[in-house]
Subunit: 154 residues, 2 copies
Amino acid sequence: MKISARVDYGLQAILEIAAAERDMQRVKADEISEKHGIPMKFLESILSDLKRAGLIEGHRGNAGGYNLRKPSEEIVIADVVRAIDGPLASVRGLAPEKATYKGQIAGLTKVWIATRVALREVLEEMSLADILNDEIPTSIAKKLSNKEAWRRRA
Amino acid sequence: MKISARVDYGLQAILEIAAAERDMQRVKADEISEKHGIPMKFLESILSDLKRAGLIEGHRGNAGGYNLRKPSEEIVIADVVRAIDGPLASVRGLAPEKATYKGQIAGLTKVWIATRVALREVLEEMSLADILNDEIPTSIAKKLSNKEAWRRRA
DNA sequence: CCTATTCCTACTAATTTAGTAGGAAATGAG
DNA sequence: CTCATTTCCTACTAAATTAGTAGGAATAGG
């Protein structure tokens, strides 16, 4: 699974917006761009994805900037990923349940379904607020507690 | 997460090889290509990835074809994915633990680590034999048992 | 020696990803 | 009411990746 630059940047951006939200502040694209080294114009196009998905709203002018459209508790990582990259899991462009196979290997479909469930179990369970507060749901904290989790594999 | 055609085809191929293995049979690339509608030359290049990774071996000539180099119980889905597509999870080309962030959003790294763990929990636990026998590990069967698992989400 | 099959090298076309460029529209401050 | 600021919109481009093609050399068995 390759997390694209767009998704990575988009999450950085919306988390920054969520963080500012707490002080009733708006954030300018320019500030995010500077702080995290994201090319300005590229960032703008990502923010427009988030806007179209109804996750944030923008305000122009002198005191302009972006803010969330829902509380940060109600926006999960999966929302952001889908807004930018589309479905969490796809197989040759098909939804996992549409990837079917002939004969003895028919069971392969289950692998893709299980993969999608696994992704949902992480990405649907973590909200922006969870990340800012470092309050990781226990099911996920369990995954992180194993030292192997932080190591690369062959 | 987009599963590429290469990975999907590669798994179909190696499962077909594993299935034939049970009757001490070799499989020809041509047979796989026909049966699953995979372009022949494209399939060949995928099989060469699997060979390079030491998962299968090829034999030329009249009674040629491919067979596994290890028992099908010892080859997991993750092996095949890595052989063809590289690391299970990466963020802008970096390993998840290398994706770090400034300030309040530093916790984002944990999302990527948890995502990688989640993928491993599925892809490292299922062997080729498991799929052919429809013997799904209980931790994974649990994921599949929920009806929601088979449904698309917004 | 002939046929079947893998193996190897090189090429190509389409799509996606990552980014740039330029300016129009709105907003608030002075 | 004008001006600086900021989002918003449309279009373009360059690089990388993905999906596939083409042609033939190497090898093994009958």
